[in-house]
Symmetry: C2
Subunit: 721 residues, 2 copies
């Protein structure tokens, strides 16, 4: 009985294949045809990817039909749009050169060492990876820009009108970027494996190149966008709020448009690209490990799991915008938990009836579940350390009364303490995933990779909620600049506040999943370069660990220095405008917004280069000078300190931000008090922590791991000759 | 010919044995008698230890004969002395309870699992270790307190008079604490090995307990003293300089005496105890590894090498105070380099003629040399990142013009970048020491331990130069409070500035050596619990690494929070005094110094407890829950991030400090400008970084390693039953 119903579900899961191909020849025996089952999974995940893109485009269309508002609003909207496009154009030009050069290197090296077909395929996949994600990030940002002004416009009619607009605006980014990624990977894998009949190992190599390409965009979008957005934010605040005492988002401030642009290019496009990068990498790493193990089902299963996550995100989306009654915050969290719930059910069905032998499906299902659970826990604890309603932020606010230095020290300390729960959680997940996989006969590293996949499978919802934040932030800015009145600003304020809470949770997700993903990449690297066992008590591994551990703080510092330097330039410019443009301070003359946008744009890309180069050259150099074991140590070290710095910076920044907001609510003297001034400094220090350096670390570590993975086997071939 | 002259030198190195014992029975054959040679080394190192203590006491005597100055100076001196002794009394009372409890636990556990003799011996050695170092730290601090006022007094006659007093004052601490440590270890080892005839392994276990005892003092003295000194420093600055605008060290400030006391208990006694802890641990770890290898010469050789370092320090000392012409800074650096030079010669002689077979002496000599060289390089690069004459500090000063937030971000970033050279240096030393040892047939981990020993061998000079800093700082404070006039203050200023430079170099030494020492302890741990190979790709090791990496930032945060909390209390008190004591601000009434001293004292010990408990419980818990491989991962992780945070905090703090001083020299608006205010905040943030959390990390990591080493073999026995 039970077996029979199982077979039925198996048939449903593998249904598409029945209607499509390979059916006739196999007859009733098709369920045992591994190729057919795998084909079904591939079709499933192609459909999920394509469907997700279609939904995203439909949502975009729907948003465009909304009312964009009045004259002044449109003016601001145009300025933001222009600035954002200008930045993206310049970023994409630089990126294109970078990608081309890297693709040629990759292709040539692979050609020389393996063969021309593989070389060309890897180069093409690399270009495709960056092109797909760049397109998605571009579309997502466009959607955000179009949405901002429409949220402000809808806010005039109330919260219930405004919330769905903001939420759907974020979802365009979330669904499109995840959809195109899954679609791209699947098609690529399908072409090489099914059509060209390549071996799994070679086909996954191509997928890895796709992932590497996506990480090239993430590097530019997250780190470059992060430098952009914080340059503008800090400069606008320091001169506007602190020196001149004019309010935030005041149209007299020459940096205000650059600040708004920054929200779109840094927070929407950047964060989206970063999460997508992790997402693709986790899928690719799991596939690579599966291929190295030599089980075709384990190679394709990650695509099926990812597809289930995407379905869950789409289904949950339909509910969230309708569920809002009073609190947008609750609606956003509902979205996250609903996605998790739906995903678990779909996951159970998919993996249970995937046809893995005996109980071994549990060895994939349970680690995936553990990863998902860990993501939720990490998100919730991050929320504690940053929320305006909890002790840390309030203690920092209280400490501001004693002075700026104590505010800084408190925020710094709470940020460091905040790493405890997520780290313990990641350690526990590692052990759980390992043994759960092993207990059911699955390779333990495949278990860890599944855990990463589990955490990232709901990434569609996570990115949607993430993009929602800067969209409502921007809507608030537009409402203020266009003087839509206090009530409208209050509505956008409520939207914004909800964004901050959900942002903390999703950031926890992003960091936690990055850690596990890189752990999976690490395992994939070890498989690729044939390291069966890594002796910690060897001088190369110890040296590699030391150098690796050093990278995240040094890269963070380089990014923060970049923001500082760029801000100095922009602050000079803002001061100059106030000095030289008569009537600017009084509001009778208009500032030169474009100049500030230019400074942010040019500076972001120029300042990004050094850290990008370091992230690519350091692992390669470690490999060449110290060997493959040292590089493994290097990767392990960079994961270890990377996760610590990423968590610390994200949470300290969030806590400083909310400490300031708490004082602004009227506590400890409220706005304008000495405590408030101290808190503003803390918030400014936290800005590049939480929005530039912290989140860029994920990307940097993924880039380093992928450099290791893609180039190491090739370089090793040179040395072994 | 050559062989003959070698034999001659060998006879000289081993001379004491000839005149002392075992001569008659052995006749001409005594050179081949390993026991006799080892005995000679033991005598040598006993003499070095005892001699060093005698020199220290003679110096102290000499200082006491100097003129302590006039009435007001004596008044201040008495207040500082009283406060310092009050703190030490309370610290030592708490310490005594702690040590007693730990000794009982240690003794009972060892008795149950091994036998009563070993249990009792270990407990006694533990108590002795903490008692010896406590005595030394007490004496050193007493000497510092006596010296401060005499330096101020001598400064009235000029720099040439004042410098030797300050330098000798520091040397009392340096020579006594190192002397008593070496003496204690040697005697202990002598008693158990030679007199009681214990096996090497058991005898070194007892030495390890001695080291563990010393680390108990270090924990209290460094972390507790660090909290004390920074509580007072920050509070005095924030209310005095920032709020009321009265100068530093102004007698109207109620916290000024507590601040002076802090220099003595935190910087002199604390730093000395910390370095001593590393020193003893490095000697003990090298001996343990030697014993595990089973070569008696390698067990005793570390004592001989340490003795050579001590001789070098004493010889160099005699030159330094005489060499001062104009610059005390140059004299201090001369001391460091002279000690290195003399040590290298003595080391060469000692190891070359130690009777190690064939070329294997090179396998000890070269790693030791590499360690020493690395120490110098790390010191010099730390100097670059903190010196007032170099780019980082000046850029931070320049950034202060833009505002407080940019100052903080810059200092933070340069601090993180500054870890690059030392980390690369440590990585290179690890590899060099490993292969140099291996090439000449010495166990590679013995090589790494030798490198640590090499770095720490000149610790006598390092501590002397280190203690010199706070002594001249205090002398300056006394000169200002007693209104000795501008010229005298200028002399003490020059002394103080020299102290700052040499402090940066010695701090680099302290951190670098701590890293290598803990690496040696790690190796010793692995030997002890019989881990032959440590697989990095196992879930327990990965989990252990994650948890271990987390410890240093969390412990740092706990210590910084402790300082913040304690400062809040003291700031309240200072404000209260200014509010409630009539005439205080005008200088007609005296503040209640004792109240502030009390707050600092009580707070320091109370706030220290949580982090101390975490440092002891965390490794034990990791072992119990996750097993011995996880604990090895834990230790490795804590070394990795510990060194990063220690370097980052020390250098960022130093750079902020000097950026402020650079502005005070008149740049970017000078004292009182907006830039100066920003720089003062940066300096205040840096204070607990560089003087509480940063240096305490060394101690914390050593404590964790020693907990692992002393308890793990015992706990493992429980589990294996």
């Amino acid at each position: 009985m039970i077996t029979k119903s199982f077979l039925c579900v198996q048939m449903i899961v593998n249904f598409p294949v029945l209607g499509w191909m390979r059916v006739s020849g196999n007859g009733g025996n098709h369920l045992k045809n591994v190729g057919g089952v795998l084909m079904a999974w591939l079709v499933f995940s192609t459909l999920a990817g394509a469907g997700s893109m279609v939904v995203a485009l439909l949502l975009f269309e729907r948003i465009l039909r909304k009312d964009p508002g009045t004259g002044r609003m449109l003016e601001i909207y145009s300025a933001i749009k222009e600035g954002a496009l200008a930045y993206l154009r310049r970023q994409n030009r630089t990126l294109a050169v970078f990608v081309l050069v890297m693709a040629i290197i990759l292709g040539v090296v692979a050609t020389v060492l393996r063969n021309a077909t593989i070389g060309l395929s890897m180069a093409i996949a690399y270009v495709l990876g960056s092109a797909c994600t760049t397109l998605a990030a571009y579309l997502g940002m466009r959607a955000a820009v179009e949405t901002n002004v429409r949220v402000a416009s809808a806010a005039r009619k109330g919260l219930k009108e405004a919330f769905p607009v903001a939420y759907y605006g974020g979802a365009v980014m979330g669904l499109f970027v995840v959809g195109i990624s899954l679609f791209g990977i699947t098609v690529l894998f399908f072409v090489f494996r099914e059509l060209l009949g390549w071996a799994d190992v070679d086909a996954t190599d191509v997928v890895l190149s796709f992932s590497f390409g996506a990480s090239a965009l993430a590097l530019f979008a997250k780190a470059g966008g992060g430098i952009y957005t914080k340059t503008a934010d800090i400069s606008a605040d320091l001169v506007g709020k602190v020196e001149l005492g004019i309010p935030e988002d005041d149209p007299r401030n020459p940096a205000v448009i650059a600040d708004n642009v920054g929200d779109n290019v840094g927070d929407v496009a950047g964060m989206g690209a970063d999460l997508t990068d992790s997402y693709i990498a986790s899928v690719a790493a799991t596939m690579v490990i599966g291929a190295e193990i030599g089980n075709p089902k384990l190679v394709t299963l990650p695509l099926l799991i990812a597809a289930m996550g995407l379905f869950a995100s789409i289904i949950a989306l339909a509910f969230v915008a309708r569920s809002i009654r009073r609190s947008p915050g609750r609606a956003l969290n509902l979205g996250t938990f609903l996605t998790c719930g739906i995903f678990v059910v779909l996951l159970l069905i998919a993996v249970r009836f995937s046809g893995l032998e005996g109980n071994s499906w549990l060895g994939v299902f349970l680690p995936t579940l553990a990863g998902l659970g860990a993501g939720v826990v990490i998100g919730l604890t991050s929320d504690y350390f940053t929320s305006i309603e909890k002790k840390p932020a309030r203690r920092i606010a209280e400490a501001s009364v004693t002075g700026t230095a104590i505010n800084i020290l408190m925020g710094f300390s709470y940020g460091m303490v905040s790493i405890t729960p997520p780290i313990l959680c990641i350690a526990a997940t590692t052990i759980a995933a390992w043994y759960l996989a092993k207990a059911f006969g699955i390779d333990p590293f495949y278990g860890i990779a599944s855990a990463a996949l589990g955490m990232l499978s709901i990434v569609g919802t996570v990115i949607s909620a993430d993009a929602y934040g800067p969209i409502s932030d921007n809507a608030k800015g537009i409402a203020e600049q266009a003087s839509l009145g206090e009530e409208v600003v209050a509505v956008t304020d409520m939207l914004d506040a909800a964004g901050n809470t959900s942002k903390a949770i999703t950031k926890g997700f992003a960091i936690g999943s990055a850690a596990l993903t890189v752990l999976a990449l690490f395992a994939a690297y070890a498989h690729l370069v044939n390291i069966k066992s890594l002796e910690l008590m060897s001088p190369q591994v110890i040296a590699g660990l030391f150098i690796g551990v050093m990278m995240p703080p040094v890269l963070s510092a380089m990014l923060i220095l970049a923001v500082s330097r760029n801000s100095e330039r922009m602050i000079e410019e803002i001061r100059r405008q106030f000095r030289e443009i008569p009537g600017l301070a009084e509001g009778t003359a208009k500032p030169d917004y474009a100049k500030c946008v230019d400074i942010a744009t040019a500076g972001a890309l120029r300042e990004l280069l050094p850290s990008g180069i370091v992230a690519i050259v350091a692992p390669a150099l470690t490999l060449i000078v110290l060997g493959k074991e040292a590089l493994a140590g290097f990767l392990a070290g960079s994961i270890l300190s990377g996760i610590i710095f990423a968590l610390f910076m994200a949470n300290a920044g969030g806590a400083w931000d909310n400490a300031k907001k708490y004082i602004e609510e009227g506590h400890f003297g409220g706005k304008g008090s000495e405590a408030h001034k101290a808190a503003v400094v803390g918030d400014t220090v936290g800005d590049p922590f939480k929005d530039t350096a912290g989140p860029s670390l994920n990307t940097m570590i993924t880039v380093m791991s992928l450099v290791a993975e893609v180039f190491a086997p090739l370089l090793l071939l040179i040395f072994s000759r």
